[in-house]
Symmetry: C2
Subunit: 134 residues, 2 copies
DNA sequence: AAATTAATGTTATAAAGTTACCTTGTTAGC
DNA sequence: GCTAACAAGGTAACTTTATAACATTAATTT
């Protein structure tokens, strides 16, 4: 998505999107709720509804293995996002790799499967937190 | 794991493993609990603990995007498992693909990352449930 | 048999997500 | 301008998923 700036978001959508943008890592729904209580939000559903629509707009992703959400990187992606997650510092980076996406297609087609929503989340240690021995 | 048969499991581990083996799809923790109440299990924690140890023994996998667990296929895998999940009939197949695993390694190494737990779960439609038009 | 470690049992609680129902805004057609 | 139709929002209650805390029992090692 190139023109996030030009998206017309509703009040709740904008609040949730802003909060996610400013975070340095993925944020959980109840954390978002806590933050946004100051802006008048009161119930989980308000958060979940905003998240759902932001995902539909393709400006937010859900991280399945973290139960958390993050803004989409700017890459114009037709291919599926790949998340690289540091279990030490919590940093998450979004990558696009067409090679990996091709492998996924090949694997699924091989068994007559139609891939609609590939989830790739790689847990480990980032460079900064890397295995002590180095 | 080649010799699941030779594993010495505790009572609860064996019950949970049996239940998962007999299921045709991944099963949630509370479903397992319901089934195993007949065998005397009473609390969620008994299930979660058994699952945790079975995962450590590498005979069970957790499907992050389903909040459910399934037995590991027999493949002797050093590489990460790839799950292909039909959102229609619920069928899940475990694949091993060293090519995809190499891509994951490449992507992570490129950014100085050490991959420890790659999660790949591909949602879509299996051959039998495939897009209506065919 | 004592020591150590692995597995269990139970209660209570936390965290994540959904259902149901009703109200308010916005927009389009008349 | 009125109103039908629809999208977005508000609120409460509830379900589902997962853990914490603490006490007990079984198995294994020395």
């Amino acid at each position: 998505m190139r023109d996030k700036q030009h998206l017309k978001l509703s009040k709740n959508q904008a609040l949730v999107y802003e909060a996610l943008s400013q975070a340095s890592k993925p944020v959980g729904a109840y954390d978002l709720l806590d933050q946004l209580k100051a802006h008048g939000l009161k119930a989980p559903l308000q958060i979940y509804r905003a998240l759902e629509s932001l995902i539909e707009l393709k400006v937010v992703h859900r991280l399945e293995s973290l139960n958390a959400w993050t803004t989409c990187c700017d890459a114009d992606h037709d291919s599926a996002p790949i998340f690289v997650i540091c279990d030490d510092c919590g940093d998450v980076k979004e990558h696009i790799d067409t090679g990996l996406n091709r492998s996924i297609e090949k694997i699924s087609k091989r068994s007559g499967f139609t891939a609609e929503r590939p989830i790739v989340e790689i847990h480990g240690r980032c460079g900064d937190c890397s295995p002590k021995t180095n």
